[in-house]
């Protein structure tokens, strides 16, 4: 098989379809070519392996999302189990089967459309197929509601890949995170399918208005309507943390996201600086809101009161904040590149996420908007960090030349050293 592919590759070299063929070839096996000139460092962690590591970190979320889709549906239809046990009520064949037939088509459409566009662009432009879509294709089904119509997803993926990525020159050149571009497109194009209390449960929209109507309001949805007591009566903190709550497919389980995040930090794929600073940023904003409530600045009948009085640290375990911080904010292409820049970039993602979450009138979540906004600012942040570094070193250089006596000739040596 391996040899056959190598032979075929030589045969198709220079043909129009060569990039498409090479993409499949290198996905399966490492190429048999050696470098043609000079010394090269060979390592296994190329772009494809990096992408695959992120996908491995995402798989637990996907699996959990499949079970949760089934669990939320059956619970909404038959009533929530009184004494919940994971093995009895969550990990069941029924849940898995229902989740699989609703979630897996999303994955298939996301990959199918996205990769098809990547292949077409590679063939037209005559470059190799880029691996960028491998992670995007997995992220997209995890951050949308379970019942998103497949054609909408297909349109959004086409838009996100072409406008979000290909027009800028493909993988590595994009300004905005493509997965979030896709989600933002869906959100603005088809808001009725992306918000409200019907979309988070399978068949919620289809049954709306009938006698069998079901709904699953998200935690943030409850809070935005000021129904804190109703929310706490239905869900406790452990359920929020482990993720047995309605929400987009793969973002409910903070516990598994935390594991995935640790895995990504351990393998050095994702930046711990961005994750940590984003957590700090969201806590800071949450604390400010809590303080505003405690100080009595905002009256209880205000429509922001419900979300403002929500304990600051609980913002991390509900909604898409944790998922966004771990898997989206840390995208190495669209995030800041400098270490100091990563701290600033991450901090504002957390800060603005919670701010939008509280103040957004129509939709109590803002992680994707916050990350997209900071994506735009990331190059500016990097620019000023680099400029600041240059200025600091220039200052050091200026000071350094004054200290030694100009006569002993050390000034030149020192000057060279400090640069």
């Amino acid at each position: 098989m391996k040899e056959k592919l190598h032979e075929l590759k030589l045969k198709y070299q220079g043909k129009k379809m060569a990039p498409a063929f090479n993409a499949i070839h290198t996905f399966l096996y490492s190429p048999n070519e050696t470098t043609h000139s000079g010394g090269h460092v060979r390592a296994v962690d190329d772009l494809k392996r990096t992408m695959n590591t992120v996908i491995i970190a995402l798989l637990p979320c996907l699996l959990f999302g499949i079970f949760n889709a089934g669990y939320q549906h059956y619970s909404a239809v038959n009533g929530f189990p009184a004494d919940f046990s994971i093995l009895e009520h969550f990990i069941t064949w029924d849940n898995f089967w229902l989740g699989a037939i609703t979630v897996l088509p999303l994955v298939v459409v996301s990959y199918g459309v996205g990769l098809a566009i990547e292949f077409v662009f590679a063939v037209i432009k005559g470059h190799e197929v880029e691996e960028g879509y491998l992670v995007t294709g997995m992220l997209v089904p995890l951050i949308i509601p379970v019942d998103t119509p497949l054609w909408m997803l297909a349109v959004a993926v086409a838009f996100g890949v072409v406008i979000g990525k290909e027009v800028f020159g493909g993988t590595g050149m994009n300004i905005l995170n493509p997965a979030l571009t896709i989600r933002a497109f869906l959100f603005f194009a088809y808001p009725t399918w992306m918000s409200g209390d019907k979309v988070w449960v399978h068949e919620g929209v289809a049954r709306a208005g009938t006698a069998d109507a079901i709904s699953g309001e998200t935690i943030l949805g409850y809070l935005a309507q000021g129904k804190s007591e109703a929310m706490y009566a239905k869900y406790d903190l452990a359920e929020m943390f482990y993720g047995f709550i309605p929400g987009s497919v793969g973002e409910t389980s903070t516990f598994l996201i935390l594991l995935g995040g640790l895995f990504l930090i351990f393998t050095k794929i994702a930046s711990w600086r961005i994750m940590l600073s984003a957590v700090i940023g969201s806590l800071a904003m949450g604390l400010i809101f809590n303080w505003v409530v405690d100080a009595g600045i905002i009256p209880e009948y205000s429509k922001f009161y419900g979300l403002m009085q929500f304990d600051f640290w609980k913002h991390l375990i509900v909604g898409g904040l944790a998922f966004g911080i771990v898997y989206m904010a840390t995208d190495p292409v669209t995030g800041s590149q400098t270490n100091k820049g990563k701290w600033i970039y991450g901090f504002f993602i957390g800060f603005i996420s919670v701010m939008i979450r509280v103040f957004n009138p129509g939709y109590p979540e803002g992680v994707f908007l916050a990350i997209l906004l900071m994506n735009v600012f990331a190059p500016t942040i990097d620019h000023y960090v680099v400029q600041g570094n240059v200025r600091r070193r220039m200052k050091r250089l200026k000071n350094a030349t004054i200290l030694p006596k100009p006569s002993d000739g050390k000034a030149e040596a020192l000057k060279v050293e400090t640069v």
């Binding site: 054609w151 909408m152 406008i163 027009v167 497109f185 603005f188 194009a189 088809y190």
Partner: protein
């Protein structure tokens, strides 16, 4: 085009494609974003601009030897403002509903960079007939893009053209809506116009190699 010499014909034809004021010179973007959510508004806006530019270029060209160069901008502004007020009053008199849709943007034709640009760059230095053709040509180039953007935005965003449903009825679920199609709310908001214009520029530049800039 026996009516016009080849040179004169190019004054009209060039701005339609190879030297389009919107897609190549990237002027007049503000109004292209603001009023293209409906095809009808785009069309009326285009006609208004064609009128203002055609007449304006002629007037400026007639006065080009009388205007002292130090105050030429203010003189040009007066000419545009007068013409725009005429358009505005006509719209209010004969198409009141439409003038409400266009609201402030008719008044803002005054600040349309394409008009001042053509006054400065062409009418001040050319004869009346050629200035007239140039004005009409550039306004047509502007209008073509406006109508194109308006077409896609109204079709995808509201499922209608000139207010007439063409894809079926979204409420009673007929036509395309019967099989689950939904209007794209993104197309209604102004940023969508930016993206549609961007796609038009992209298509135009990739088809016409002469327009590709050196990297």
């Amino acid at each position: 085009m026996a009516l016009l010499s080849k040179k004169d014909a190019n004054l009209i034809l060039d701005p339609l494609a190879d030297n389009n004021p919107i897609t190549i010179q990237v002027l007049g973007i503000c109004s292209a974003l603001a009023i293209t959510a409906e095809l009808k508004a785009s069309l009326v806006m285009s006609i208004s601009v064609i009128f203002v530019m055609g007449v304006g270029n002629v007037v400026i060209s007639l006065m080009r030897n009388l205007i002292p160069s130090k105050i030429r901008i203010i003189a040009q502004l007066i000419v545009v403002a007068t013409l725009v007020i005429v358009v505005d009053q006509v719209l209010k008199a004969f198409a009141y509903e439409l003038s409400k849709t266009l609201s402030v943007f008719v008044g803002l034709i005054i600040t349309n960079c394409i008009i001042m640009g053509r006054f400065e760059a062409f009418a001040l230095g050319n004869g009346v007939w050629r200035s007239f053709l140039d004005g009409i040509g550039n306004a047509l180039g502007y209008g073509v893009i406006l109508v194109m953007v308006g077409f896609f935005r109204e079709l995808l965003g509201a499922g209608t053209l000139f207010g007439i449903p063409v894809l079926g009825d979204p409420i009673t679920k007929t036509g395309l809506y019967a099989i689950g199609y939904e209007n794209n709310g993104f197309m209604i908001i102004p940023p969508a116009a930016l993206i549609v214009v961007g796609i038009i520029i992209w298509v135009q530049r990739s088809r016409n190699k002469a327009l590709i800039e050196e990297a």
